[in-house]
């Protein structure tokens, strides 16, 4: 137990000390990747542990980012109407923008709005026992709805350009390297806290209920648990994590647009978790960092083949590494330890019930 905890501590401390050994540019990249790692944690919770595959987490990420971006935009507009509204013909700040001039409200909203939206959608679909691929496809439709809306409502959202060109956050200049380092460290801390939260949840009895829901949702009902409330809870928790990541993302990258909440980014989020290991929280973090590093690397070296590589990665992971990198290490280690008992396949719990 202690050794493992020590390992995690070392990992997070190594990340935390990033500014000491990473250059400014690489630190910025890493900060972005760690935001993605927070999203990945959330996806791991719902997908790896609960069996809900959401192809719509870009929406929650985006909404969280927009909430914070609205505050940043207002702050950098110095009390004037944001530039894009001016040339979109809006004469006064829309009512729903007004509270976002308060940073506390904006930051709280970046957590709560995604969580509430997810809870609503989750409650309806899970209560109606829509699950598996049907839920995945519906979550994709939700992405289409939101992206179309955000693009079409240009006078409110900045349209395809999104919100960008921020100057300060709570009075600190976002361009300053020191502020960027502070934001990076904040990201590491929040990632660490999210990880701890997620690990505690999955190690609790509730976490075992979630795994049970994944393996046999109907069976869980016959133990007296209502899977709907568990699923709604974990789904909105994961949406809140995505929203939180969006906030950190927009602070560090200084930009959010509908393109970042689209279908492709949403599916890529799932890929991070698949590559790292869908049943492993630390795997999700590693997956997000590794896939995005690889993306940076490949798209710089061989821009044309990045999408082929990405496609192959999907296929390889699904076909040969269903439990991702961490899973592969696990079984390799297992083999090394000469564990040979493998007989008997695990029946799905729901064999009869469903």
């Amino acid at each position: 137990m202690d050794k493992k905890k020590l390992g995690y501590w070392l990992f997070f401390i190594a990340l935390f000390l990033g500014p000491l050994y990473l250059t400014e540019f690489r630190l910025a990249l890493m900060g972005k990747f760690l935001c993605f790692a927070i999203v990945a944690l959330g996806i791991c919770l719902i997908w790896g542990y609960t069996g809900i595959l959401s192809l719509g987490h870009g929406v929650y990420f985006g909404i969280g980012a927009y909430c914070t971006a609205m505050y940043l935009k207002l702050e950098s507009s110095n009390g004037q109407l944001p530039d894009f509204m001016e040339w979109s013909g809006v004469s006064a700040l829309p009512a729903f923008w007004i509270p976002f001039s308060n940073p506390v409200f904006a930051l709280a909203a970046s957590l709560i709005v995604p969580a509430l939206l997810a809870a609503m959608l989750g409650f309806l679909t899970f209560k109606n026992r829509i699950k598996g691929v049907y839920f995945s496809l519906i979550s994709q439709a939700v992405v289409v709805v939101f992206v179309t809306l955000f693009v079409a409502k240009q006078d409110w959202t900045g349209g395809t350009n999104g919100l960008t060109n921020f100057t300060t956050f709570l009075g600190f200049s976002l361009a300053s390297p020191l502020v960027q380092i502070a934001l990076y460290m904040l990201t590491v801390i929040i990632l660490g806290l999210s990880f701890t939260l997620a690990a505690r949840l999955t190690n609790s009895r509730a976490g075992r209920v979630l795994s049970a829901v994944r393996d046999g949702e109907n069976r869980v009902r016959f133990l007296g648990f209502n899977p709907t409330s568990y699923k709604v809870f974990v789904y909105s928790l994961s949406a809140a994590l995505a929203g939180l990541a969006g906030t950190l993302f927009v602070l560090q990258v200084g930009l959010i647009s509908p393109a970042m909440m689209g279908i492709i980014p949403s599916i890529e989020m799932v890929l991070w978790v698949a590559v790292g290991g869908r049943h492993s929280l630390i795997g999700a973090i590693l997956g997000a960092v590794i896939v995005n590093s690889a993306k940076s690397f490949f798209s710089e070296t061989y821009p044309d083949i990045w999408s082929i590589f990405l496609g192959l990665l999907f296929i390889i992971v699904v076909m040969f590494l269903p439990n991702g990198i961490v899973g592969a290490f696990e079984s390799w280690n297992e083999k090394r330890n000469k564990a040979k008992q493998k007989g008997g396949t695990a029946d799905a719990a729901d064999s009869v019930v469903s």
Binding site: R205, R208, V209, R219, F225, G343, G344, A348, V352
Partner: protein, 250 residues
């Protein structure tokens, strides 16, 4: 004695097919009741209706004569004390035996309470007792999916018993078990019935003969007759129903 469970004129139809055509059935406290009948008679469907998996299109299912559970959701019915074991073992393959039992503890099953739940010494004793009762003490840290078929069946029965049910619904509990295992299961059921009522669907006549007191025969979505096994064996209607379909009886 007041019946603990009464089904009144329960009807179920699947896309026009009448699976249950008005079933009446009463189960008394601490009674072991066997449901027999040829395939397609509606035995499993009746269990499905009682546990909430299938919704009856008509009729009432009364618990303790007052509460109509026909429209309740599965987990609400379970919380009342009616648990169900399915025909094929349905345990959580990726959890250990111990964890399977842990989830089956009689407990507050709300999200908030479960998140804060801690294993008490009492819980632990209860689970260990159950482990030795179902003979899985040595396998308790194994993944449940790795158990042998009979062990899975027992684990599932154990999971039902952990919930201290008032009524236990069993669907062919001994299917796929060896002779000694069957006997052991029979004993177990007998033992259980001191605490709760048991409603069992079973095809194995030998087993029914050995362990039944009351038997209900179903045929084509209706109750054909009720009585002790020897009474049933005398019944001409039953013979007729079974003679044509001998193979399904054994």
């Amino acid at each position: 004695m007041q019946p603990i469970l009464s089904c009144r004129d329960v009807r179920v139809s699947f896309n026009g097919f009448q699976a249950l055509q008005g079933v009446d059935l009463e189960v008394k406290p601490q009674e072991v009741r066997f449901l027999i009948g040829p395939n397609g008679a509606g035995k499993t469907t009746l269990l499905d209706v009682i546990c909430g998996k299938t919704k009856a299109s008509d009729g009432d299912v009364l618990y303790r004569q007052v509460e109509n559970i026909r429209k309740l959701q599965e987990h609400e019915i379970v919380r009342l004390g009616i648990t169900r074991k399915f025909q094929a073992p349905s345990i959580f393959a990726n959890l250990t035996v111990w964890e399977n039992l842990e989830l089956s503890l009689k407990q507050e099953r709300g999200l908030w309470s479960v998140m804060r739940a801690k294993m008490t010494g009492e819980d632990k004793e209860k689970m260990e007792a159950m482990l030795s009762r179902i003979g899985l003490m040595d396998q308790r840290h194994q993944l449940a999916g790795m158990l042998a078929h009979g062990q899975k069946q027992w684990l599932e029965i154990g999971m039902q018993l952990m919930q201290d049910p008032e009524i236990l619904l069993l669907d062919e509990p001994i299917a796929g078990m060896s002779g000694t295992e069957r006997h052991k299961t029979g004993e177990l059921i007998h033992e259980i019935s001191t605490a709760c009522s048991v409603l069992i669907v079973e095809h194995d006549m030998e087993f029914v003969r050995n362990f039944s007191k009351q038997v209900t025969v179903m045929h084509e979505g209706k109750v054909l007759c009720e009585g002790t096994m020897s009474e049933i064996q005398q019944n001409e209607q039953v013979a007729e129903v079974y003679l044509g379909r001998r193979e399904s009886a054994c």
